[in-house]
């Protein structure tokens, strides 16, 4: 459905995308996961024919994003990172406008957007600029879906949105997947990775890993421990100073820790922490989440850059 081969793109001296290769098959939810400035928007803009790659090529639905761009623009749906609808038009006027751009009507494909649109329909005569963040998203998604595209590109649809609205948004995406629609979505939120079928972790224009979320997690190098003690603030520093510590990261209420040795000598670490005044020490081996993998991969990327 989407095929990206050796794409490079620079802005001046900044390498925004560095040899990107991705294949996405039909009906997949593919997540492009990385922080701001990693190159997510640039890649999505290349796929939506809005930017030209420096080198490399990409096909969406077997159409080349450079040469067949006119034909391709009929096919896909696109929801840019910034809310890009007309704020001075009402909800229904925006939707009608996009329906007529694609030569269709709201009624024709209503079934596709019904679940999403009916939540904002009570406000259909309200100007889009007066909607809340969550509702703007729903409208933007409705507009991107109105022509029944087989593939949609969503650039950071959940950025700046609270966790509840985010959850609802992902439920809508699952529903669209049910109609066989291929979804290419980018996000800076690592916890959304598990909602995708496959993901690419991107940082500084490099794809650090690309696979199903489970496989990426299983490739985590070494054992991961969650550590907690009664002295929350000092723990981070003390763990870092532990001689065999490899990585130490704050992680919500716990600290995630990996050791240089294959097997962590728990007793040794407990004694060390007690010596530094900690009490109620808990050390638990846990399964990593995507964010752990991302942190580890970022470390590798940095090491590689220094060599």
């Amino acid at each position: 459905m989407i095929s990206i081969k050796s794409i490079n793109k620079s802005y001046g001296a900044v390498m925004a995308l560095n040899n990107i290769n991705i294949e996405v098959s039909k009906g997949e939810i593919f997540g492009l996961i990385g922080p701001d400035g990693a190159g997510k928007t640039t890649l999505i803009r290349i796929l939506t024919t809005l930017l030209l790659p420096d080198t490399g090529s990409a096909q969406v639905m077997n159409k080349d994003v450079v040469n067949d761009f006119r034909a391709l623009r009929r096919e896909f749906g696109y929801m840019p990172g910034r809310f890009s609808l007309y704020e001075d038009l009402t909800v229904s006027e925006n939707l009608e406008l996009f329906a007529s751009i694609f030569g269709t009507t709201i009624e024709e494909n209503y079934y596709l957007i019904e679940d999403i649109y009916k939540q904002i329909e009570p406000f259909k005569d309200r100007r889009a600029g007066k909607l809340s963040g969550g509702m703007k998203q729903k409208l933007a998604l409705s507009c991107a879906m109105i022509h029944k595209p087989e593939v949609i590109f969503l650039d950071e649809p959940t950025t700046g949105v609270d966790p509840v609205s985010r959850k609802e948004f992902w439920q809508m995406l699952k529903k669209l997947k049910g109609y066989g629609i291929t979804i290419f979505v980018s996000t800076p939120y690592m916890d959304e990775a598990s909602l995708c079928d496959r993901i690419a972790l991107i940082q500084d224009g490099h794809i650090m890993s690309i696979d199903t979320p489970n496989k990426i997690v299983s490739q985590f190098d070494g054992k991961l421990y969650a550590i907690i003690s009664d002295k929350k603030h000092g723990l981070l520093k003390d763990l870092r100073e532990f001689p065999s510590a490899r990585s130490v990261f704050l992680f919500g209420s716990h600290i995630h820790y990996t050791d240089k040795n294959e097997e962590l000598r728990k007793a040794e670490l407990t004694d060390y922490l007690k010596l530094r005044g900690h009490d109620k020490i808990e050390i638990l081996e846990i399964l990593p989440v995507i964010e752990d993998c991302f942190l580890a991969l970022m470390g590798n990327l940095k090491d590689a850059a220094h060599v």
């Binding site: 922080p35 509702m135 609270d162 509840v164 800076p188 209420s253």
Partner: protein, 248 residues
């Protein structure tokens, strides 16, 4: 300050016409506390924050920030606080040094102190080599760390952070929170909003706003216990779910 509270809020209310954006909220923050201010989009967080920063007049209730009344002593309030948001923080076309100089100047710091502290700050952030390039060419993570440093440069009693880590990479996000923790340990109260629920765990206490009211207030552990939840994410969703789609 005569008492231990850096922010005291009692039944603070803001109405826009017949819409109540902030509905009789009350809380106190202690000196050096990291206070997480959570809520869904449109729950009234930014309105409340604007009132506390002296940018918006309340329609009811009372609030003191750094010991000053937000009705009568707005200018004093403003001189005792720092502010940083994801959207606006630094002038992109000024260099790091110029930005520091500018903000320090606003708060009337003496030149000598500015020079000394600027050098210290650049050391701490490893920014010496980039001190004289325009901000827009720096990576986002650096910018946000610099913006935070600038916001606390004049040693405010309270610093307000509005989604300071949005879109920042996981490593920098953690470095950022270490800076926050250090600043708090030095006695500055941190008042922070975020959509990352793991960051809520780093706060000493959290309030969750729903439809203009504070529906939950306490330490992360207390809240999780009270709501029988394993993570802050669950707490948040339990609270905010039924009304998440209100407009604000």
């Amino acid at each position: 300050m005569s008492n231990e509270f850096s922010i005291e809020v009692h039944e603070l209310t803001k109405k826009f016409g017949d819409f109540t954006a902030v509905n009789e909220i009350s809380f106190n923050t202690k000196k050096g506390e990291i206070f997480g201010f959570l809520g869904a989009n449109g729950a009234g967080k930014s309105t409340a924050m604007k009132m506390l920063c002296g940018l918006l007049s309340p329609t009811g209730g009372m609030a003191k920030v750094a010991g000053f009344d937000i009705y009568k002593e707005r200018e004093k309030v403003k001189s005792r606080i720092g502010y940083m948001s994801q959207k606006f923080s630094l002038y992109q076309d000024l260099t790091a040094r110029e930005n520091i100089r500018f903000y320090a100047g606003i708060y009337g710091m003496p030149d000598k102190e500015i020079k000394l502290k600027t050098s210290e700050l650049l050391d701490r952030l490893h920014l010496h080599d980039f001190a004289d390039v325009q901000i827009h060419s720096l990576p986002l993570g650096w910018k946000q760390k610099l913006a935070f440093s600038v916001a606390v440069f004049h040693n405010p009693e309270i610093v307000f952070l509005d989604e300071p880590t949005g879109g920042v990479d996981p490593v920098t996000r953690r470095e950022f929170w270490e800076m926050i923790t250090q600043t708090a340990q030095a006695g500055t109260t941190i008042f922070v909003t975020t959509h990352y629920m793991d960051e809520a765990e780093y706060c000493d206490r959290i309030s969750i706003m729903v439809d203009g009211r504070i529906e939950a207030l306490g330490s992360p552990e207390e809240l999780k216990r009270n709501f029988g939840a394993r993570s802050m994410d669950e707490v948040f969703i339990q609270l905010a779910r039924p009304t998440a789609d209100k407009i604000g």
